[in-house]
Symmetry: C2
Subunit: 494 residues, 2 copies
């Protein structure tokens, strides 16, 4: 109590900025979705891999694949001297995705792992970035990759598996589509168009505007330029109209079916060898999907998938949910992309110097879960337990016996463990818990060998709708013999 | 190639020291165990909680409950300035257990959570400590706690639930025991023995030696001291022989059943009020366990559980596996403790200033999993997939159709995706994958509309045991019509 004695301020009970907690159904719904995906992946011969959250910065690489800032975006720290632990001064970091750890594992265990190595991984990753609405610094990823196979059979398999996984979590056939393209086809188109290396990036940028400005808009942008909506003139890339033709042919090559699309693409790549190789690969993928029973309403060749192509070296794919949902302003919109991937090299090369071909897909866990919630498909495991209330503090053992009996019958149940004095608080608690049923047994009921079974769902309905007389008759509350407790609860829950 | 141009060294493909990766069955076996525990916890009304891996150092507290070094043992780093992210200079850290985040959550959401709040949490925690054999810097914890209930009914429930959880993962009744003690009883014993406050710690230290030195050894240590095995004299605490009697009575109080043990404990605490309160609580717990159908062969009052009592304020419990296993030297030993817990205060107090009573249990995930493995109970999900081999690269679609058919029938299956040139490599791959069956179809078989189905498990057995003639007759390989592929594989797997 001395005057100079400082009072220790209390710590703030807060998650760090950009982090959050997941409660109850938020946990079980995601888990249930990931379990169903894991079952599909496992059936396809993929093995689970769980790497540690912490990697050396050296093994991770000092860059994120999808941000521009090198050496940023990662939570990292320097090792202190821990006897027998890491070397003081080493930099450690939280993994920012599941691909970098796969690369490390594929290199570290290259003599032990089967080759090709099919693995799936699900778990949190961390990004030291600006958080925003729905954008957190820790979030889940769910990846499947095949390392060590150059065959497009591996790509076809991943596309088929992705379609199966979407159906596995409950998305109906017709409510999704897996679109497949090939980076080599685009390269072939650029070759056929005789685009110079220094123009390629510019051309790709204009291609991405196709959805917005249409065929003639892109033609103008590839050649002499055009005025945009504001009247400002946008310089063109400077191709000739002839040069622009393969690009335009590529952009409009989606046909009524894979055969038509492939024929259009073959025309678009002209004499380009790399382009022909790309079209051949897509053709093989189409054949293999058909052989696996995956029809074109589930997975289809679609040259409009261009985004992120830079990272990939061959086939690329994207899964889109095609049903409409209402956005926050009540407007209908398509749900959009929930997964993407493709073929990439250089995965293990950083470590061993050897190129190892790989292909994989990543499902956007939060987006897919949001889609399932929007469709009411996220699982119904959210019902609260039966709450056994406490009328007589001294008979706690009796109440626990009731809960134990219910649980032995497979029914979720708990005893109220707060201060039992105020019975209203117990019913409020049951309400907060989402309890479907409350059990009540006072001394009088105990003497008579009965319990009151209160149907809280029916009770809530009656409270909302019934007249005072109806309400007073308490149709939602039944007295049954103690021995019939389980049977009565089961009747209400069924 | 200039002389002064340094070649970038390749990064080392290594996990950081003290971290490890989990492959295949290592992941699924743990997951299966945790899923079964979660189902039991859920049925008892506990809700899952998943907090983020990262907490502010302020919220975590700068100490670990079970190490002596303040401000050590935690992976921590300082926030950089991320626009909209954390405040530069804030310290963040990886959680070192699941209790500290629970404390933060209980304080942060105290107006929203039901009270009492039953929650379970499963996930990795991180310790910046010296790694050792079987001791890693990232490992799983599995906790269940009830926050906000002062009733020992909450403790009884946790003990019953722990017994159910052990049976839920496959431990047979009789192969485990939950032992229950109470910190208050020990305090009562110290009071009855008129132990001075400055002697209490010393007395507790001698009590812990009971298993090693026996009744008379502890008597000597509590009073005048004794010679140890080396002949060195160990000073006693200095109690009188009369004073030592309650302590000795406590140490030998375990009776043939709970009733006998409780009578002995009541005698040991003498006139101590806190001791009587502790015995009363144990008596209530015993009654409630009986009411819940948990007999004394599953959970029992046992005063020998002393370790870690300092952290707890009331009932404490520990689950031990009682079956014998062979240690690394082939000697039989009891498996020992796999879970522990008890009642504690001060959980939320740090944040809010208010004491909130809480009780909980933590299962040692790695130890319990090791026990399940030792008993062959860790789950049989480790069988590899059926491997469809590739005899003819151009007919990849045919092979994928076979794998798809098998999967559609619920059979785990994959096509070999490596270079198919060397068929021996394909069989080696199948072996590495633990494949039970390989499918083979060359051009000849394709023309005839048949496939070869190779039973690899039978094949391995024959290779080990059969004569050359038997081996040559290839009884482990069957030719069936292509249409009978699924049926034949199913026959072999059944």
């Amino acid at each position: 109590m001395a005057k100079d004695q400082k009072k220790q301020p209390r710590p703030k009970a807060e998650t760090p900025k950009g982090f959050r907690d997941y409660f109850g159904a938020e946990v079980t719904e995601r888990k249930s979705m990931l379990d169903r995906i894991a079952a599909i992946y496992h059936r396809h011969g993929f093995e689970p891999l769980e790497t540690s959250a912490v990697e050396t910065v050296e093994a991770l690489g000092k860059f994120l694949p999808d941000v521009d800032r090198p050496n940023a975006g990662v939570f990292a720290w320097q090792e202190e001297a821990v006897p027998g632990g890491g070397t003081a001064g080493d930099w450690l970091a939280l993994r920012y995705d599941l691909t970098a750890p796969l690369a490390r594992v594929a290199a570290q265990y290259r003599n032990d792992l089967p080759s090709p190595y099919r693995r799936f991984a699900m778990g949190p990753v961390w990004r030291n970035e600006k958080p925003g609405p729905g954008r957190f610094r820790q979030f889940y990823q769910c990846d499947a990759d095949t390392v060590g196979s150059a065959s497009v059979a591996a790509d076809a398999e991943i596309c088929a598996m992705l379609a199966d996984a979407l159906e596995g979590v409950g998305i109906a056939r017709g409510d999704y589509i897996v679109r497949i393209n090939n980076r080599k086809v685009l390269n072939g188109v650029l070759e056929a168009a005789e685009v110079r290396a220094d123009q390629a990036e510019d051309v790709l940028r204009q291609i991405d505007k196709f959805d917005k400005v249409g065929r003639n808009g892109v033609l103008a942008l590839l050649t002499e330029g055009r005025k945009d909506d504001s009247g400002a003139f946008i310089d063109g890339v400077g191709l000739s109209v002839d040069q622009a033709q393969p690009v335009l042919a590529f952009l409009t090559s989606k046909g009524d079916d894979n055969a038509a699309t492939l024929a259009n693409l073959r025309a678009a790549v002209g004499a380009s060898a790399i382009g022909a190789e790309g079209v051949d690969e897509l053709s093989q993928i189409a054949d293999m999907l058909a052989a696996m029973g995956v029809a074109e309403d589930r997975a289809v060749i679609d040259p409009s998938i261009v985004r992120g192509l830079g990272y990939y070296t061959g086939p690329v794919f994207e899964a889109e949910l095609t049903f409409e949902i209402l956005d926050e302003k009540g407007r209908k919109r398509q749900f959009g992309s929930v997964a993407g991937g493709g073929r990439y090299d250089g995965l293990v090369e950083r470590f061993t110097g050897q190129k190892v071909p790989a292909t994989g897909v990543s499902i956007g866990v939060d987006r897919l879960l949001a889609a399932l919630r929007a469709k009411g498909l996220a699982g119904a495991d959210s019902q609260g337990p039966v709450v056994v209330t406490v009328m007589d503090r001294d008979r706690m053992a009796d109440y626990q016996a009731m809960a134990a009996e219910l649980r032995a019958a497979g029914i979720r149940a708990e005893v109220y463990l707060g201060n039992p004095k105020n019975f209203g608080n117990q019913l409020k608690y049951a309400d907060k818990r989402g309890a479907p049923v409350a059990i009540i047994q006072g001394g009088n009921e105990a003497e008579r060998g009965v319990v009151q079974v209160k149907d809280l769902i029916l009770g809530a309905k009656i409270a909302a709708e019934a007249s005072l007389d109806e309400w007073k008759s308490q149709p939602a509350q039944t007295e049954v013999a103690r021995a019939d407790l389980v049977a009565e609860v089961r009747r209400i829950l069924s």
